[in-house]
Amino acid sequence: MADKLSSKAASVDRESKIVDPTKGVPEPKYDWRGLTNEWGVRVIPGPHGLRLGDINVGSYGEVPDYWQDQTRRPRGSVGRPGIPPLPYSLRSKHELWAECSADLYEEAIQRRWIPATEVPWDSLKTLPDDIEKAVCQMCTELSQSANTELEIITYWQDRMSYGYFEVKQYLATATFDCARQLEALRKRALSNGGGLGIESRGRVNRIILESSGGWTEAVVYLYLLRGTYITRLLTGLLSAAHNEAEAFIYSHMLEDHARHLTYGYDHLEYASTHHDDASLIMGTLLAVGEAHMAAELKEGVVSSAMAIIFGGGIKGARTHGMERYLVLVRDFINDYLAICRTLGIDREKSLHPVFKRYLEG
């Protein structure tokens, strides 16, 4: 193919070009013509348009286990010798890959939402002070979690090599999701007679942000441990939403978050099945992480705020509100253990004692 194209290029009448660049049109060199690894690709859009996964055809769809190239060479394009490297440190597929990345990328784009104009803000009605405080405290907590997610993703994003661009593309959507969540939660806290609450002490935020050994380690804490809990919190908040605005925000955050967890779990599965030591490392990290998570669960701010929301006020929080929150935590731990089992990580036997107590009720 390359030869064919080169000969076509050579057939261009170069004699007719003016060579002196100061006088007119410079002679084109056309030394780029014909330089392709694969030509003749014609991907046809399907019923859902032309999706990222659709164009993974021929050599363009070959995702290698190790990506040697430290430049921004698009996968499948022709390289150029002598290009100085960039500091891409994640170059093994098992360090970041998830099969679902391209699909999640397109889904995120289709499911975008706009807090300013799509949330029915006029449905907000004045709430009793204790409930408004609880809602605003949860907005503060969830904002800080979203901020941690945003910061850890953007810390790793530019270290991921181009051989795995689908993951980078998907994480770009996750970055935007996090920014939108920060925005939506702030708007909710500041639009119904309340305000922001007190910041989190940040025990789990800290372990996520300090997991600098690799992206997979960050994913263990960000999605498997904390993300699984956040899903339950959002589900709980949605079930107890006080108005359409809150219901809209929580349901859309859940949609976003579901994609994030799908990537996270899928990546951990890929890592654990393609890297010998991965499951054991994850198990070690989780033993440490559970202790921090347990300490955060016991701190009482989130549990009390959720109990107040579930109980319809402080009085109800002391009875059925807290009971409902404890069920939420139990459900989270059961989810967490189920995913660990899927990943081949045995956490049941050495589960943190506080987690065990929540399970026992």
């Binding site: 007119g24 690709v41 530019d158 305000g195």
Partner: protein
């Protein structure tokens, strides 16, 4: 700590945090454009610290806890380093103007092109596939380094990361959808000193990325009507231009803000502009620049085939002229007009030479 009666002690309701809420009684109201980020900049929540002491990642305006971990080693923590006046509007606009390369491009309008034209388009797409994610990778890195007290600016950068992902994606799709393929990379975005990647200061990075780099690309995208061969390509360039205009606006407004609030940095900025201008027409990063392969491809596209290269090249000169003119307008708007009047900048002479 309040008394619990029905629950075990460890599950008592703690209401002490209720006495530590931040400013209370805020009721931001939606305006004509909904409830925007600007609308919630009320009371103390709208106060932007000139120097941020927020090292814990707390939302701006929330109550600080003395025992919180200092997990945010934020390099960018002074307002002048990153701020711009219209961040909240750029962010809201980005949300409103998101688009999908899968479904918003009329892919069915692609028709087989002559080999030389298809090759030229594919070379350009390879170039953009490569460079667009510089503009994704680099802003992402700076989000993690910036205090959340400047959330509006960070949110604009998050939107840019999303935009650039979509650009990378749409150009890859185009290259693989019409009988062509990817071609040879340019290497224009590698780690040379003075490149966008290696800047260790946000404003230095923004000057290179937003003002000169994306500025040149924006002019080109705006001319997409001229070199797009079908509605799919014209739509692609038009939508990319719309996004790129926001990114350039970020850079212009930030530079203006910095020039006004940190005058001691003006000479430093002039030096970044000196470097950028030396590369404006000569560097590989401008797809219409004199040294780039992509400018040959552009001339082929503008002419409608390699046999009309001369005509295409004349149109390319119009693009270059427009790039120079628009670059000067941006720098003037950013408050650095002097350089075009005092002879420091070579751009006015370059512009005059293209007349």
């Amino acid at each position: 700590m309040s008394e619990a009666t029905e629950m075990p002690r460890e599950h008592e309701i703690d209401t002490s945090w209720m006495d530590n809420m931040a400013e209370w009684g805020i009721t931001a109201k939606p305006g004509k454009r909904g409830l925007t980020l600007a609308d919630v900049q009320v009371g103390s929540y709208g106060d932007l610290p000139k120097v941020s002491d927020n090292m814990t990642g707390r939302p701006r305006g929330s109550t600080a806890r003395p025992e919180a971990y200092r997990v945010g080693a934020y390099q960018v923590h002074t307002l002048s380093e990153i701020w711009l006046e219209n961040a909240e509007y750029l962010y809201e606009e980005a949300l409103q103007r998101q688009w999908s390369s899968a479904t918003d491009i009329p892919w069915h309008t692609l028709k087989p092109l002559p080999d030389d034209v298809e090759e030229a388009e594919c070379l350009l797409c390879t170039f953009f596939n490569e460079v667009e994610f510089v503009a994704g990778d680099v802003p992402a890195r700076w989000i993690a380094r910036t205090t959340p007290d400047y959330l509006e600016a960070r949110n604009v950068l998050s939107a840019q990361v999303m935009d650039e992902a979509r650009h990378m994606d749409v150009f890859r799709k185009r290259a693989l959808a019409n009988g062509g393929g990817l071609m040879r990379m340019s290497g224009a975005t590698s780690g040379f000193v003075g490149s966008i990647d290696l800047a260790r200061d946000f404003t230095e990075m923004s000057t290179r990325l937003h003002i000169s780099g994306e500025g040149a690309v924006l002019t080109m995208f705006r001319m997409g009507e001229l070199f797009g061969q079908n509605d799919a390509e014209k739509t692609m360039y038009r939508l990319c231009a719309q996004d790129e205009a926001r990114h350039v606006a970020f850079g212009v407004m930030h530079l203006r803000c910095l020039g006004e609030t940190a005058p001691e940095r003006r000479e430093e900025i002039e030096c970044y502009l000196d470097e950028a201008e030396a590369q404006l027409m000569a560097g590989q990063q401008n797809p219409a620049g004199r040294q780039s392969e992509s400018s040959e491809a552009l001339a082929v596209l503008l002419g409608g085939g390699s046999e009309y290269y001369d005509e295409g090249h004349k149109k390319l000169l119009v693009i270059r002229r427009r790039q120079l003119k628009e670059y000067m307008k941006r720098v003037i708007s950013a408050g650095f007009a002097d350089r075009f009047e005092n002879g420091r900048s070579p751009v006015p002479a370059q512009y005059a030479a293209t007349a």
